[in-house]
């Protein structure tokens, strides 16, 4: 692309200067080095491969954990790409819901929420993006996600009364990812330079207390009501989901997981597993293994999205 522009616009020729040879530096004696695995090298190598159309690779994994007798999490992924003419736009939806309580099992709540949200979004967006007469929506993505969460809420109230669920969803259109979030499942952005950013705030009481400086992180870990959420789908009080849009990390990953993962495995360990695995499915598998090795106190669900473009 760059060559084409340059040719068309006749940009001035870049100057080439003579480079001086680099001189080796004396390493201090106590530094230990180890060679990178071939996978790690591939990941961080500076040779940039251009993919067209830009596309998404998804991995996912789920486990009941070591201490629960059934699984109340739901995970859902949808991944599509259409490239015609000179526009290639990836379209993906990635959802995790962690259900709880009520007199029906939590998976009815989490399943209903994830299905209602995705049914609404896919029915609305598929024709606009992949259908015969594609046309951009009249509502903004913000409004569309708000409506989708409302559908999910109605589904939980109707089909799992008394129950509740978290909901963290990432909608990818092109290179923008719009996230809708309620509860304490999490979404992270992972950049190849080592940054791992939590993109969602936990709607847990304990998180609020830590933010206010009333509890330290260590106290939070052992706080008796650390699972109490002040916001979740399924309650009758009014609430507002967190919805925001960002450029997807590329190169990089989007990680979505329930507290069964982030509650047991540190950010550093998650980053290492993700960047040293050969593909996202492998990474998710190893993440679940790490959570189970740490005791697996809760159901574990994880989705890892890699954007190549």
């Amino acid at each position: 692309m760059l060559d084409f522009i340059k040719k068309y616009f006749k940009a001035p020729e870049p100057q080439v200067t003579e480079a001086k040879p680099t001189e080796p530096v004396e390493l201090p004696a106590d530094i230990r080095t180890a060679p990178l695995s071939s996978e790690q090298i591939e990941m961080v190598s500076s040779v940039k491969v251009d993919f067209y159309p830009p596309q998404i690779i998804v991995g996912s994994a789920q486990s009941v954990g070591k201490q629960r007798d059934h699984n109340e999490d739901t995970l859902l992924t949808f991944n599509a790409i259409i490239a015609d003419g000179d526009m290639g736009i990836p379209f993906g939806l990635f959802v995790i819901a962690d259900g709880m309580g009520g007199h029906l099992h939590g998976e009815v709540a989490s399943g209903s929420a994830a299905r209602a949200l995705s049914e609404y979004l896919i029915k609305l967006l598929y024709p606009s993006l992949l259908g015969l007469d594609p046309e951009p929506q009249s509502d903004s993505l913000q409004e569309i996600l708000e409506n989708a969460v409302r559908e999910a809420q109605q589904a939980v109230l109707k089909r799992a009364p008394g129950g509740g669920t978290t909901l963290t969803a990432a909608l990818v259109i092109g290179e923008q990812v719009t996230m809708a979030h309620v509860g304490d499942s999490r979404a992270y952005f992972i950049y190849m330079d080592g940054r791992m950013q939590a993109m969602t705030l936990d709607h847990s009481l304990v998180r609020r207390l830590v933010d206010l400086g009333q509890l330290t992180e260590e106290q939070a870990r052992v706080y008796p009501q650390k699972n109490v959420l002040y916001r979740a789908l399924g309650q009758t009080e009014p609430f507002r989901p967190d919805i925001h849009t960002h450029l997807i990390p590329h190169p990089g990953f989007v990680l979505i997981c329930s507290d069964g993962l982030w509650g047991c495995v540190s950010d550093t360990e998650m980053f290492n597993i993700i960047t040293s695995s050969s593909n996202p499915s492998m990474a998710c598998n190893r993440l679940v293994e790490a959570a189970n090795n740490a005791g697996g106190p809760d159901n574990i669900s994880v989705i890892l999205v890699q954007y190549l473009g």
């Binding site: 259109i173 609020r208 699972n227 960002h246 450029l247």
Partner: protein, 634 residues
């Protein structure tokens, strides 16, 4: 029932939510326990319905009562029995209370898996309904009057012997206002019995509850916090359940509703202290404070002095470093390059002024008004004129390089990229002009005047038209997508992180995905806008004809603050270090802190400011319709 010595918490606690499948409301005409004739459902709560009923024990008069139903969904018979016993114990306490703000309880009973309370029927509306119906803010006097009555009844409950009764659930939906305008507390703590939280589950948002209540500690000080939270909601119209808990300090009352007195805000802030010991020690103390506020603000209302606006010390201290007077209005924003300020004026000239001392260097006369902001590269300065031309003038000497003719006035600010100048004209076309030759590479005919400056990124050109279209055009001049707003897009769009931000005269500010043209979010302003936005950190700042300068989060469009100027914001804002600078239609240049919208200083000119200021080396340069170009210390 028990497992390994621990209670199976899943069975012990049942939520009392109505299950639409299995529980039905009583129908009208049913005679409950042979005494209460159900007439209508007047309310639906979390646990069941409230019915207006007639007490048939008094056949000769129509005695109407409210019958509140609580559906007991406990599966375990022992649990069910416990819940009913607790309910009856509470009802016993309530029946003994006599206070003007507490509806009388006439009866209670359990029948057919449901428990019932028979209460005095209150004719009126609760505060949640009133909040939903009322557009503007409640008056401070009204809220104080209600709060004093609430303090009174809470005081009564807290002083109850042998044990204080803590209401625990003060919130707008539990406060009714009767026909006489007096407060009635409804939905007593009985509700709490059916809602005990447990480990591992979610609880309600309960934005009005104090922090210690989540730890299971309840004291009369909890009711004080909840009263403060309710008053905060009433005065700001911001529902605390929609925000993270305990964040009242992030929404100061007077920032949202400036009509509230400082004294009242202080009283409410005291009630909302995180630590119970920092609040009022009793509702009696809170009531005393509010009475003092009432007396003080009541007096002010009678005298009503209007103070003339005296410019603050900060305002008077802002003196320009230098000024330069042109022969007519300066409508466009200045551009700065190489210690020279370039600015066009309606006197047809483009001026080059020394940025250090305001000394005149040269001027170039066109044959029409110059209203856009000039662009430049290493050799030339480029500007459009109402004489239909785009000029390329050598900026060192002011000598003409070349001109390019369009078929209409050029009011657009040009942009330079990839060896080309991109400029729109009132003739409806966007032109890509080769700088080396001064000839046109391509043009895109949009059919409507283009006054918004194009933004060029990577491989695309984006610009708006007076017909309300936003175009995305590639470097070959092919249109990739168009977005339609309802009215003109006069301002220049902003590109950041794959998103195009722009405002329209239709009163909406848009964030559109640059690749696909999909709207990510939109934000409604009171009126249209001709301002271009600016991005600072993760925030977008822009002004509107409704007089506000808005600061929104770029990712979610959540409003962080808004600043109300005295007049329409007509000039686009510029950000520099901690500040954002913006001009208004009556000539004031505002310098605000970009984090919170607080005014740092104001500078008054005698004509409208319609351009964006440019800031360099701590100096702000701005032109005004009063013909003068100003240089001010940032």
């Amino acid at each position: 029932m028990t497992r390994e010595g621990k209670l199976d918490t899943q069975h012990i606690t049942q939520n009392f939510t109505p299950n639409p499948g299995s529980t039905k409301h009583l129908s009208s005409g049913i005679l409950l326990v042979n005494r209460y004739l159900v007439q209508d459902v007047i309310g639906i709560g979390g646990m069941g319905a409230v019915y207006r009923s007639r007490d048939m024990h008094f056949p000769n008069v129509v005695k109407l009562v409210a019958v509140k139903e609580m559906v007991n969904l406990a599966r375990d018979p022992l649990v069910r029995q416990t819940i009913v016993q607790n309910f009856e114990r509470e009802a016993h306490i309530l029946v003994s209370l006599s206070h003007v703000a507490i509806p009388k309880i006439f009866d209670f009973f359990t029948y057919d898996e449901r428990s019932y309370l028979v209460l005095e029927l209150v004719n009126g509306k609760d505060l949640e309904a009133l909040l939903n119906e009322t557009q503007g803010f409640f008056s401070e006097d009204q809220v104080i009057a209600w709060a004093i009555e609430l303090c009174d009844v809470l005081d009564f409950l807290h002083k109850h012997k042998p044990e204080p009764i803590i209401f625990r659930d003060i919130k707008p939906s539990n406060i009714m206002i009767n026909q006489e305008g007096h407060v009635m507390l409804v939905d007593f703590g009985i509700a709490k019995l059916f809602h005990e939280g447990q480990k591992g589950t979610m609880i309600g948002t309960e934005g009005y509850s104090p922090p210690e209540q989540y730890r299971g500690e309840a004291s009369p000080l909890a009711d004080i916090y909840a009263l403060g939270a309710t008053m905060h909601h009433l005065l700001t119209h911001r529902d605390p359940r929609l925000e993270p808990p305990f964040t009242f300090a992030e929404r100061p009352i007077r920032q949202i509703n400036p009509a509230v007195s400082l004294e009242l805000e202080t009283v409410i802030n005291t009630a909302l202290q995180y630590s119970p010991s920092d609040r009022f020690p009793s509702t009696e103390a809170m009531k005393e404070s509010m009475l003092m506020v009432a007396r003080r603000t009541g007096a002010l209302a009678r005298i009503r002095i209007s103070t003339p606006s005296i410019p603050s010390a900060a305002d008077q201290g802002v003196k320009p470093l230098w000024t330069f007077k042109c022969e007519d209005e300066i409508r466009g924003g200045p551009a700065l390059f190489n210690n020279t300020v370039f600015v066009g004026a309606y006197d047809n000239n483009l001026y080059a002024i020394s940025s250090t001392n305001g000394e005149f260097q040269w001027k170039f006369p066109s044959e029409g008004g110059v209203v856009g902001k000039p662009a430049f590269d290493e050799a030339n300065v480029y500007f459009g004129s109402e004489d239909h031309r785009l000029y390329a003038v050598l900026h060192r000497s002011g000598k003409i390089g070349w001109t390019f003719d369009t078929s209409g006035p050029v009011r657009c600010s040009p942009k330079v990229a990839e060896g080309h100048v991109f400029v729109g004209s009132d003739d409806g076309c966007m032109y890509a002009i080769n700088i080396a030759s001064g000839s046109r590479t391509w043009k895109v005919d949009t059919g409507a005047p283009i006054r918004s400056s194009p933004v060029i990124t990577g491989d695309m050109v984006y610009f708006g038209t007076e017909e309300g279209e936003l175009f995305c055009v590639d470097f070959r001049g092919n249109t990739k997508w168009r977005f339609r707003a309802r009215r003109a897009i006069t301002s220049s769009p902003l590109f950041a992180q794959g998103v195009i931000y722009f405002s329209s005269l239709d009163g909406t500010f848009y964030a559109v995905d640059a690749k696909s043209g999909w709207v990510i979010w939109r934000f409604r302003m009171g009126k249209g806008s001709v301002c271009s936005p600016v991005k600072v950190d993760n925030n977008i700042i822009f002004g509107s004809a409704d007089g506000n300068l808005y600061c929104l989060d770029a990712g979610s469009s959540k409003e962080l603050w808004r600043f109300k100027a005295d007049h329409q914001i007509s000039g686009s804002p510029t950000a520099f270090k901690d500040s954002v600078y913006c001009g208004s239609a009556e000539g004031t240049l505002y310098a605000l802190e970009h984090r919170n919208g607080r005014v740092r200083w104001k500078f008054f000119t005698s004509g409208a400011i319609t351009g964006a200021p440019v800031v360099h080396n701590d100096v702000v340069y701005i032109g005004s319709h009063d013909h003068i170009l100003y240089a001010l210390l940032a």
